[in-house]
Symmetry: C2
Subunit: 387 residues, 2 copies
């Protein structure tokens, strides 16, 4: 396998973009990444697109071909990857593998989702289609109710508290307030998060990720070519893809997502670095408890210690392991198929010292993590500076 | 890149399966392929699933995870590939590349679509979402009207006739009558095809592919392991993936699909064999004219000669190049995301001498071709006997 690097990265402002259509979001992100890389678009040999539900949200399927067409790459092979909320991570992974295996030299990984504009019930139905509808749809196993069960069990087994979960939200809102790309750029105080209207116990409305429109793109090439092309290439040191059962009733564990554990182990084995070498992490905080479970599953703290680790401030900017400097799914937003690509953009900014007010000083290694369906799919990437 | 082979193949009977749910179709095809290979399912390391619109047809997204779960492979990495009607071909290709690159040793490529059961208007809306809805949906550019324009232009430029198109249908219905897996197993005479109610000039109802439910699976491993495991492995000699613009108005040509040309050239370059060495072809006859255009684009006849080549009987069983021995999308049926995988199953049967009444004697090399969206995505595979 060849070594690979990122030479271009761009994401649109995340938000409720009433005036922007799919084509607008696609053009801004894709052309932005091409300009950032400073390459001729004709050098891009293939396009890998993460999109969860263009059909439901936009009446548009086959987003691979649409993205390629809008970017003037319609004559290149394009495909859409879908793995629920991990779709963007899968697009990055398949793009990286195409370069690593020598199939292509330079490719684009893209993520896009335009979720706003529908009736909220319809939106929630589309989101729930990423869980087992046949066996569990009728039992209201949706994102909020499913992850709420994980939260309650985590509280029961490890003493994780409502306050610790709210601290995840407070921190990510604070980080988001520093990120011009974030959907919500405002600080929300802890007591307001705790007292917010309930969605599904123990989650209030501020424990839940946002319904967001956005697109993001990264351009990947060989490490060797990257060094010749750009001043600050960002290496893709490791990549992992883990799976777990789609049906909640078939899962063996309520306080861990084995898909994340497997994806992280694969990525660390490939990267050949230790957990302690990761300086900054973007992980899938679809709900506040998920971030707590993620930092355990990814191996940064012992199982059960995610709540205290958060409460002690270690995941905040300036802490031992800043988590979701972008604001995460909570404040930057969760444009489903875009999220995994947007994480790579944020970590590229960190490793190129472009993260401004949210910059982690001297960050050498960064990690991204997405989790899709009811913990059924995870994609993890480890990035590093070239120097 | 390592050489790869198919060690297991299975498809369900194609049809309107009122009594079978998604889980039933998935279980039959997946378990059938595992039994055919004679391996332990734990040996399968990853699952690549072609599915076009589980959301629209079945209210179920994230079909990669559902397929893996139903087959007892929920702990393995799974993903869904979507490229409109080429989705199944992309799943086979990504599965093959994973083995060829050394990422995995043994993987499953899967295709599934359950299309029947909805109001026909709703079904057609879901199918049309595989074309550019933003710019062309409002102008009724759907499958039938779009391909009808290709047909009329082909008639104008090359003198292709209504009768020649009907001959494609008559042949494929004849082939389908010999295939126990086909949705329609009946002979329909030429004059009935020509006089059938019109869908979109020049197409009558028998020029159009079927709305079909089915699932198909193939198991792919290294050539070396395949030889050790099964008596008649089928080699994957070549693979290609071509792209073209998604928006019909942006296309340069109405009588050719450049995506098919590119995919075929890539596959032949990889296989290192000549067009004349292909003994049997499954190609994407979504409409009768498409088969005529395909055999030109894939390089078997000169541009414009597809009609006469068909009329002379060369594409019929017993002819120079039997095309769509399964009955094709026309008679075997077109379960969208399944089609590209089902083609590989049919060609595996041919190369293992298991195609019974539709067997092409001494077939050594076979080819498959799918075309998705308005000619925007094509995947081509070339298969060969081990001996």
């Amino acid at each position: 396998m060849k070594e690979t690097s990122i030479i271009g990265a761009y994401e649109t402002k995340h938000g409720d973009h009433k005036k922007l259509g799919l084509r607008d979001l696609i053009a801004e992100a894709g052309n932005g990444a091409i300009a950032d890389a400073g390459i001729d678009r004709a050098d891009i040999e293939a396009v890998y697109v993460g999109n969860y539900a263009g059909t439901g949200f936009n009446g548009q399927n086959t987003m691979g071909s649409l993205v390629a067409t809008v970017l003037g790459l319609g004559d290149k092979p394009a495909m859409r990857l879908e793995g629920a909320c991990a779709s963007g991570g899968l697009a990055v992974r398949q793009a990286m593998l195409a370069v690593a295996s020598g199939q292509h030299e330079t490719v684009m990984a893209f993520g896009v989702e335009k979720m706003n504009g529908l009736d909220p019930d319809k939106t929630m139905k589309i989101v729930a289609e990423g869980q087992d509808q046949d066996l569990e749809g009728g039992y209201c196993i949706s994102g909020p109710s499913g992850f709420a069960m994980n939260a309650v069990r985590h509280m029961h087994e490890f003493g994780t508290t409502r306050e610790q979960m709210a601290m995840v939200a407070e921190k990510n809102f604070y980080h988001g307030s520093l990120n011009p790309y974030a959907h919500k750029q405002r600080i929300i105080k802890l007591d307001r998060i705790i007292k917010a209207p309930q969605v599904s116990y123990p989650f209030g409305i501020h424990d839940v990720s946002l319904v967001t429109d956005a697109a993001a793109a990264v351009i990947i090439t060989t490490r060797e070519r990257a060094k010749a092309l750009v001043k600050k290439p960002v290496r893709i040191l490791g990549s992992g893809h883990g799976g777990d059962y789609f049906t909640v009733a078939m899962k063996g564990d309520s306080v861990s997502f084995p898909a994340s554990v497997k994806a992280a182990n694969e990525a660390f084995n490939m990267a050949g670095i230790q957990r302690t070498e990761i300086d900054v992490l973007e992980c899938h905080d679809c709900f506040t408890v998920t971030e707590i479970i993620n930092i355990e599953d990814l191996g940064f703290v012992e199982k059960g210690k995610g709540g205290p680790f958060t409460a002690e401030g270690h995941t905040r900017l300036g802490g031992k392991l800043p988590v979701n400097t972008s604001g995460g799914l909570k404040a930057k937003g969760h444009p489903i198929g875009c999220t995994g690509v947007g994480q790579i953009v944020e970590m590229t900014f960190q490793l190129r010292d472009q993260a401004e007010g949210r910059q982690v000083a001297n960050a050498k290694h960064a990690m991204t993590h997405v989790l899709g369906g009811p913990g059924a799919v995870s994609a993890v990437h480890i990035l590093g500076r070239e120097d």
